[in-house]
Amino acid sequence: MFQAAYRTLQAAVAIATVLFVISRSVRSPRRFGLFRFRWRDILYGLGLYVLCMGAYYAFWIAVGLIMKLLGAGGLSRATLGGIATPQTAAQYAVLALLSLVNGAAEELVMRAYLLTRFEQLFRSTAAAILLSAALFAAYHSYQGYVGLVTVALIGLIYGMCFARWRRIWPLILAHAFQDFVSIAMLALSR
């Protein structure tokens, strides 16, 4: 419970910091992808989640096949051993809330704010997407090399979708689905 409260507070601080900085900008919040929520965003979020899962499986199946052809050793799984998993219905509800808050914090910082600013500073959308995906992967390095590459891949897809849609809600929802399903599956597999 303490871990959940600590992570929620951390996410809330990040959300407050970015919203405060955006509110000070002469640019409209819409330039940072901050639009009012639409129900359609849930569909976009689900679609993005499915796309990421498809890319994840396609990428690692391809890597596995190449390694098999080359006679290299197998891949180690992502390290998620230190993550507390839910047991009761109430804990699953907390996990859902935590996933949403964490998704909002990470997407607001990495895509809404940093990707937009990197684009402005480097005058290149591709460079902005690459840099934000690299930073996104860097703070997931505790998941090991497999986790690092997977998160970088997901970061690239999220960045490309943000550059295309310019709306943050679908990304927040896709990220929340991703976190919730991964941890719920981890709990069920234990």
């Binding site: 900085v21 000070r24 900008s25 002469v26 940093l114 600013r117 990197f118 860097a138 390095s141 505790y142």
Partner: protein, 88 residues
């Protein structure tokens, strides 16, 4: 304790960095001018001329967000990484 340090760190950093970002934008602050600026953001020459924000201000502000929100997470992530099992 760690949480309190994080929150205090962000508040202190935001005070310093955002003052620097504001100064780079050309806004007067209470510390610099001794009173609140008489010019609102909407009235500032940058807004009237329809120009973009000065790059220096954007660099400072982006640096602040990186330091406050991303760099601590990278350090925590590296610290959390489980060490590789020692060779037998």
């Amino acid at each position: 304790m760690e949480t309190v340090q994080h929150v205090v760190g962000v508040v202190v950093l935001s005070q310093r960095w955002l003052t620097a970002a504001g100064a780079a934008r050309g806004w007067k602050t209470r510390r610099m001018s001794g009173r609140w600026s008489s010019m609102s953001v909407e009235q500032s020459p940058m807004r009237v001329c329809g120009r973009e924000e000065p790059r220096k201000a954007v660099w400072v502000e982006t640096g602040f967000v990186l330091l406050a929100c991303v760099v601590p997470l990278i350090f925590v992530s590296v610290a959390r990484r489980q060490p590789a099992p020692e060779a037998a």
